[in-house]
Symmetry: C2
Subunit: 340 residues, 2 copies
DNA sequence: CCTGCTGATGATTGCGTTAACATCTGCCCG
DNA sequence: CGGGCAGATGTTAACGCAATCATCAGCAGG
């Protein structure tokens, strides 16, 4: 019997009518702008409550040309890294009052990225974060050049789009240095897929640290981030008893490696030390607990969104090319002194 | 020197002007509706390409009252279950031509859920999938009752909103039955947090299967899904040598359990069998490889979105209360015959 | 040769909101 | 006591698109 029309929700005009004012006045109350008398404001506010008024975001966006929404483009959120990054960004964005629209692309190539970006543009997002962990995607970032601000996360630098990321090279160096510090002659490496930028950066860091220490640089094994790949690599490494230390490019491969070594009777860390990368929540409970490199994804999200926010808000703000967040080493049971 | 105004992108009116037709005709070409002569259509299409026209989704939504977007409400996407469910839903939705807006809620209570749902409503989503794995959220689902169709995923049944989920009870029964089949007198249980519906359903299934088999029902231990909780429970269980089989409510706790048992010198599966739940990608590489229950989240997503799509499209479609997807048992190395 | 229909196209209006400008009331001050 | 100014409110138009109705030409059938 009240006037809650079932189905359609109340619009600003309904509120105006009910409060006996013009639509514009309601809008002013809504946005806390302009001069509205205390009395009118109260009347309007009561009316809004009465009809359970909720402003229509789309209409506002259309009128304003801004949507208070940012878009996130990502690939394979099932992976720990990208998945955590999305989560961090999502949180940070909400905290700043942005809505978030997420688009997962099917393949990490130029076209897919392009179409994802366009589709976000169609939705009038105010800005985007592109999680582009693939070398192949870097080129595509260059071509975006629409008016919409873009921040790339975990991407290769391309000179057009500012980048936010975790310092993969430093992480790899920390891991390698840690192992060398235990007296290992050198450190072997199970790398991630070559198409992933993070993979390359981690390998580079490992190589650089070995070089700095004057240690030999063994040929790295390749993997695809999965535990199975780590297992396969482990089976190869187990046979070679010159191998005493391994830096594996992520924790899941680390798990597979540990499994293989266990099967082959190679004791960790007595016979072989292992350090991973990521610090997944499970890594502390591997057998043995995995030493690894921790990345702060929440911070990554905050930094990315903060940067994007500034880009969106302030027209003539010029961002730094690159913002790197330092990772930290977590030492657990899988790394120890070289066997004598 | 071409007419690509930098900054603003072309609108339908621009295309119309360029093609020398009315806006309406462009709209018709765009939506492949109405009668447009072959000739005009071509002219319009050329014009669209020339100015790189992209329809503005918001404007269309506002005009149509539909947005071709579905909203997803979720809690804690970092958890394997909810995270995978989101991924499955996202994929399925895109396949059906829907955009996806994801909202993560901070706390799993009535208010947070309500405000998430309202905010999606403000964005004019055509429908929503609410991943509501908490008992506390079930009540809130009842109150939604807006015009927007809602499907709940992994939620408790409340009679208002159709549910899509994986048959947790069946999964628990499969795991328990598998262990009993090895001759274990009974099966112990490490449960998930009581506030989680899945947790309760898994415990119930375990209990029911034991009861059906006439086996004793030991008091379950409680955990919070984390490996640490599994570890703690494992330390308790290891001391009790009447325990020969454990059904643990998820794989991460399973990992912790294995870790604890290893530390205490309890051999798996010779001294104790373990079966988990989830089949995370890593579970096959635990030490020993974990027997577990696999859930098909991709399928869950498809089913949820298909149902929602029908609800959105067909006004007088009435959905079934509940759609359950059967999980499957994956037998690996962590389960075996009872010690004699 | 007119009626009536069909196919192609255009004009108008509305979706819900806000910006920009217009109007109106008091009231201060010279 | 009138000019002018500030505060409060209203009016109009625009954002980009599509539904609805109108228009117009061509053409078959009586």
């Amino acid at each position: 019997m009240s006037d809650s029309r079932s189905g359609k929700s109340a619009t600003l005009v309904d509120v105006a009518r009910l409060a006996g004012v013009s639509a514009m006045t309601v809008s002013r109350v809504l946005n806390d702008r302009g001069n509205v008398s205390r009395e009118t404001r109260l009347r309007v506010e009561r009316a809004m409550e009465q009809v359970r008024y909720r402003p229509n975001v789309m209409a506002r966006s259309l009128s304003l040309g801004r949507s208070q929404t940012i878009g996130v483009v990502t690939y394979d959120t099932a992976q720990y890294g990208p998945g955590s990054a999305v989560l961090g960004i999502e949180r940070a964005a909400r905290e700043r009052g942005y809505g978030v629209t997420i688009t997962a692309i099917a393949r990490p190539d130029h076209d897919a990225l392009r179409s994802a970006v366009l589709s976000l543009d169609d939705r009038m997002v105010d800005g985007m974060v592109v999680i582009a962990p693939f070398t192949a995607m870097a080129g595509a970032l260059r071509d975006l050049g629409r008016g919409t601000p873009v921040v790339a996360a975990e991407a290769a630098h391309q000179g057009e789009v500012p980048i936010v990321g975790i310092d993969q090279g430093l992480g790899a160096r920390l891991a390698t240095r840690h192992l060398l510090g235990f007296g290992h002659r050198t450190v072997h490496h199970i790398a991630g897929p070559i198409e992933w930028i993070e993979s390359r950066l981690r390998s580079d860091g490992w190589r650089a640290e070995l070089a700095d220490a004057g240690a030999a640089v063994p040929a790295p094994l390749g993997g695809d981030w999965t535990a199975r790949a780590g297992y396969d690599a482990g089976m190869r490494l187990a046979d070679d008893n010159s191998v005493t230390a391994v830096f594996v490019a992520n924790d899941q491969m680390g798990l597979g490696l540990l499994h293989a070594l266990h099967e082959r009777g190679v004791r960790v860390p007595q016979d072989m030390s292992v350090v991973g990368f990521d610090d997944t929540p499970e890594s502390a409970y591997f057998l043995p607990a995995l030493s690894t490199v921790r990345q702060d994804f929440a911070r990554l999200g905050e930094v990315a969104v903060e940067l994007l926010d500034r880009l969106v808000t302030d027209d003539d703000f010029v961002a730094d090319d690159k913002l790197l967040i330092p990772p930290s080493l977590v030492v657990r049971a899988s790394s120890g002194p070289a066997p004598s």
